[in-house]
Symmetry: C2
């Protein structure tokens, strides 16, 4: 099987089956869990299934055949991602993802309450109720990930040898998120710091680890695993850099998310770091004045975009993306792979150039 849409369809179907089963289990516990079921479905309906694709092609790269077991293992990657997104959206207070309200935003609209304390509201469990409900949804999704992977149907010995990779995936993802939270909203970061967060938060988690999972399930050689690190790390950084650009320059209609949040939150992106490094002292003051303003509006954002354009920072990031894709392709060429896997991984590398990614 070599068709990206076909793989996506099979992963989607696997996740839909899980939602259908779990919905009936949850409603058996209580009818009041209907909102949880609804958001569970939404959180698993959208997505490009990139991580699933990398796991799948890691397996195929090891010379293993297509089968339903690996598709189920790949679907587990998407459950990890859905869980991480649900918690990440609470932290960033992102209200839209793929054009639909995020879980905590939906729970808030449902009257479950919102982030923050209205003046005179009680402390504790009354406030932030929608965030609490979304946190529970994320916990549920993460738990499903482990269950689906453990029961994917591939031989137990194959699954067992990936356990250390699960630990690494989890540790690196939490570490990356933790570092980003520590740094968000504070001083404009150095480029190197931004890329460090990107490496843990995106590169390893989105590309390298899913590839290693699939390759390890399939029993790939150390040289293939090494090539996947050489391919996955720069490509993952490229995805993050693309995401940084879309977070500021993207069309919300195309990206399905706000293009103001990153600036309003003063996200420590490489785009921001490069911009700051290229501005005059006076321009940097202008930048600092606008960033992180709770009231940051379209006009403020337009001003920052202009600074990013004029300074050449936007182009610099585009160049960094191209350079990383080239490195990823070179790593791919450095090792012998079955032709279908090589073709699919090459196409996945090019997708980082897609401006509507």
């Amino acid at each position: 099987m070599n068709n990206a849409d076909e793989l996506k369809r099979r992963v989607d179907a696997c996740l839909r089956r899980l939602v259908d089963e779990e919905e009936s289990e949850l409603l058996r516990v209580s009818e009041e869990l209907a909102p949880l079921c609804a958001q569970l479905r939404v959180s698993l309906t959208r997505g490009k299934r990139l991580r699933a694709a990398f796991l799948y092609w890691g397996w195929r790269a090891a010379g293993q055949p297509d089968c339903e077991g690996v598709v189920k293992a790949a679907a587990a990657m998407e459950l990890v991602h859905a869980a991480a997104c649900t918690h990440d959206d609470i932290i960033d207070d992102s209200r839209l993802r793929h054009g639909v309200p995020t879980a905590h935003a939906a729970f808030a609209e449902g009257g479950a309450g919102t982030w923050g304390t209205p003046a005179g509201a009680p402390h504790g469990s009354r406030q932030d109720r929608s965030a609490a409900l979304a946190m529970m949804l994320g916990d549920l999704l993460m738990g499903y990930a482990g269950q689906v992977f453990a029961t994917c149907g591939l031989p137990g010995a194959y699954v067992a040898r990936t356990v250390p990779l699960w630990s690494s995936l989890l540790r690196e993802t939490v570490a990356g998120e933790f570092l980003e939270v520590l740094r968000t909203g504070s001083v404009v970061p150095k480029v190197a710091e931004s890329l460090e967060v990107a490496r843990y938060k995106t590169a390893k988690y989105t590309v390298e680890r899913p590839l290693h999972m699939g390759a390890t399930l399939g029993g790939a050689s150390p040289s293939v695993l090494a090539a996947f690190t050489g391919y996955g790390m720069p490509l993952g950084e490229a995805f993050q850099l693309r995401d940084d650009l879309l977070g500021v320059f993207g069309d919300p209609v195309e990206t399905g998310k706000s293009n103001l949040d990153d600036l309003r939150d003063k996200k420590p992106t490489a785009l921001l770091a490069v911009t700051a490094s290229l501005l005059s002292a006076d321009e940097e003051r202008q930048l600092e004045e606008v960033l992180g303003k709770p009231s940051l509006d379209e006009a403020d954002a337009a001003h920052v975009r202009q600074l990013m354009e004029r300074s050449g920072a936007r182009q610099r990031i585009e160049d960094m993306i191209q350079e990383r894709i080239a490195r990823a392709r070179a790593a791919l060429d450095s090792v012998a792979l079955p032709p279908p896997a090589r073709a699919a991984l090459g196409a996945l590398a090019d997708s980082a150039t897609d401006r509507s990614l």
Copy 2:
């Protein structure tokens, strides 16, 4: 092995080894993760290790011998609990557990920010930073639980047959928490509703499922599993009812937690439900006036305690605890068990009567 302290010591040692290993892994990622490591250690330092004990004795009840593998599997239960407590404390904004600051409280003291939006603070990632960091810690702990269980060293076939129980444990725990969040701070619940939450949030999660995990690992008969449901559900409810009493009447020095939070948050406990059912219309108005006040103070709490005493609600809850312990013991006597397991499970049932639990 039949000594509760000795089992606790071995579970503690297993968790300490995990923390030592993970700390070095995390610091290898970044020195900035030191606060995460510190809270990881704190979150795994305290606790009665009740859930570990139930898993361990479920295994022994199946006729299996003491071994390090089951102690490691038991320690995984404590990791699930530490994860659930970390997220639960964020939701309830509980500042103290076992007499030390909870994770989000500690991150806030560390200058990481606090719940709620100070007037004029930006939306999103700047606010609630300490809650975000604690949420990440909880995610990490839950991930470790799966890893430690999967690598406990017991035969793969034993571990594999417990996967459906993991799903149930997770689903029921999240469902119980979700229902509690939905109901907290709203109208005073019916007794039946409070006990429903207690069944999912505490009874299954604290007693029945850990017992079933151990018994299933050990290959126990269906009659033993059934007896463990008959023992675990009433005993778990008794633990929750005891916890409800300690949450209002407990001495913070002994319990290590506030005895105002449950009232301030208007926690939908059975104690509150029974109290409301026994009060006159006038007294109920007095109760409603005090509950959920953000400014609820010691004098308000004293007034509520007096209503709970005078109405006979406190005694009613004590009676409900005794009645449940008797049912748990009867279920235990209904099945053949190895004497050490029967003795240990009997002692665990009596611990629900411990007023400083």
